[in-house]
């Protein structure tokens, strides 16, 4: 049986997202041209929460998009069962916008690579920044995050899981699992 350790609770997650929201506004000098894009599934939920926080702070509702990166994965031909494809919903023009890409766990960097390629097909934003709730290290590509909720040193045998009310129907928390035969 895998061992479970809780790393963050509901309040810690909320505070981390609040800090990230402030940092996003500070770095981008407000909400002008700012757009949030969450990576399915949990990044999309986090993007909506950050949007609500930004609205609370600045009183402005910034556009939020949802990106499904399945079609841009680099490992499709090496896995044996298809991941279910979901819809990408970006109903605003990203040309010249300041995009903040949001995901839950930042690991190898391959998801972000796929997301950057996908965004590229939608237009040419002014810049793209990356916000993540957890950075667990082990990058396989030269990609870094601009905003990090919490840095967690992990081994490759561990599995970091973010549980969110909206997607998992359970109280927000971040847990770490020990896998016997590797992640």
């Amino acid at each position: 049986m895998p061992e479970l350790t809780q790393l963050m609770d509901k309040d810690l997650i909320r505070r981390a997202l609040m800090r990230i929201s402030h940092e996003i506004l500070e770095k981008n000098k407000g909400t002008s041209e700012l757009c949030l894009v969450g990576i399915r599934t949990r990044g999309a939920v986090l993007a909506e929460r950050v949007q609500a926080m930004v609205q609370e702070i600045e009183g402005v509702s910034v556009p939020v998009g949802i990106l499904d990166i399945t079609l841009y994965r680099d490992d499709l031909t090496s896995i044996s069962a298809q991941p279910v494809v979901h819809e990408t919903l970006i109903d605003f023009d990203i040309e010249g916008k300041k995009i903040v890409l949001i995901d839950d766990v930042f690991f190898t960097g391959r998801t972000i690579r796929a997301a950057l390629n996908a965004l590229n097909d939608f237009g040419r934003p002014a810049h793209i920044q990356l916000a993540v709730l957890i950075d667990r290290g082990h990058r396989e590509l030269p990609i870094r995050a601009d905003f990090v909720g919490k840095n967690i040193p992990t081994s490759l045998q561990q599995n970091v899981k973010v549980i969110l009310q909206e997607t998992d129907g359970d109280e927000d928390r971040v847990i770490i699992k020990e896998n016997k035969n590797g992640g």
Partner: protein
């Protein structure tokens, strides 16, 4: 991306030959996957890199505009390479067998062959002998699975469901592979199906497929939610199935007057090409209730879903 909590589904099918073989769950998966692909066709850059490096051949022994263009666009939008072979311009006309042609294509490392042929069972025969995937784009009077899938996708998009709907299929049922594939699919998804057409064009014993049969279009129009019209295949009418085309149009052609007693949200579908003035009048074909062009739009998305499911991952 091992930490991405992606739902993984079971799909170990290599070919799409007939909806008779697909389970309800597999059909649902195709329709669900197609939803996501519809969005890709609405982008400025209508292309995703998913099938980069894959090769797809369309091998058509019968004329086609829609189906072939639809498959080719679907493959191209997924970044696969495509070539089209029309039998009339190929070595088949020099006497090469279909299987030899297909094997030669496979020797060039083609991953998937889309085939249309006038004889039922040709795609199955190719699938039996080839290592790659085969998709049936219509074989004789037997099956046209991708057409039925796109029809069901279009119905689901309009009504939000298929289960419990009543679908009327009107016209030359005898020669229609579209009708047969739709019957298999619609029955599996829980729709009620009523067939309607002249007795000479109604296959004997078709009730065994779990459908109702009627010879009175007016009676059918009053009851159904979807009216699926079939093309009167004039090339297959040489054996005196009908006294005259005029008589067919009078009894089985759909016009505004006949629709006066229909449900308000009735939709009209047609797999194309339409014979305006024969199966339906222009005012109906271009009217508000017509989903004919939606079917064509959705065809690309459904075929992208099928190509993704067949070629997207290692088998």
């Amino acid at each position: 991306m091992a930490d991405k909590n992606k739902k993984v589904i079971q799909w170990d099918r290599r070919n799409i030959l007939d909806l008779k073989d697909l389970s309800k769950e597999e059909i649902d998966l195709v329709l669900e996957t197609a939803k996501s692909f519809k969005e890709v066709s609405k982008r400025d850059v209508k292309k995703v890199p998913t099938l980069r490096g894959k090769s797809v051949v369309t091998l058509f022994f019968e004329p086609s505009t829609r189906t072939r263009a639809s498959f080719e666009l679907a493959a191209k939008r997924l970044s696969a390479d495509t070539i089209n072979i029309a039998a009339s311009q190929s070595s088949i006309s020099k006497g090469e067998t279909i299987l030899d042609t297909a094997r030669n294509l496979e020797a060039m490392n083609v991953d998937l062959i889309i085939v249309r042929h006038g004889c039922a069972g040709v795609p199955d025969e190719l699938a039996k002998h080839l290592k790659g995937s085969v998709v049936n784009a219509g074989d004789g009077c037997r099956a046209h699975p991708t057409q039925a899938l796109l029809d069901m996708f279009t119905i689901q998009e309009r009504f939000g469901k298929i289960e419990g709907l009543h679908v009327g299929i009107v016209g030359d049922i005898l020669h229609s592979r579209v009708a047969r594939s739709n019957i298999w699919g619609l029955k599996k998804l829980g729709a009620k199906v009523t067939l309607c057409g002249p007795p000479t064009l109604m296959p004997i014993g078709i009730e065994q497929m779990g459908v109702d049969v009627s010879y009175d279009l007016n009676e059918v129009i009053e009851k159904v939610d979807v009216l699926m019209l079939l093309r009167l295949q004039r090339e297959r009418q040489k054996d005196n199935f009908l006294p005259s085309l005029r008589e067919y149009a009078k009894y089985f052609g759909v016009n505004k007057k006949k629709l006066s007693k229909a449900k308000k949200d009735l939709v009209i579908m047609h797999p194309g090409p339409t014979n305006r003035g024969l199966e339906l009048s222009s005012e109906i074909a271009d009217g508000d209730n017509s989903l004919i062009l939606d079917q064509v739009t959705n065809g690309v998305a459904v075929r992208m879903a099928i190509l993704y499911l067949l070629l997207g991952t290692k088998t």
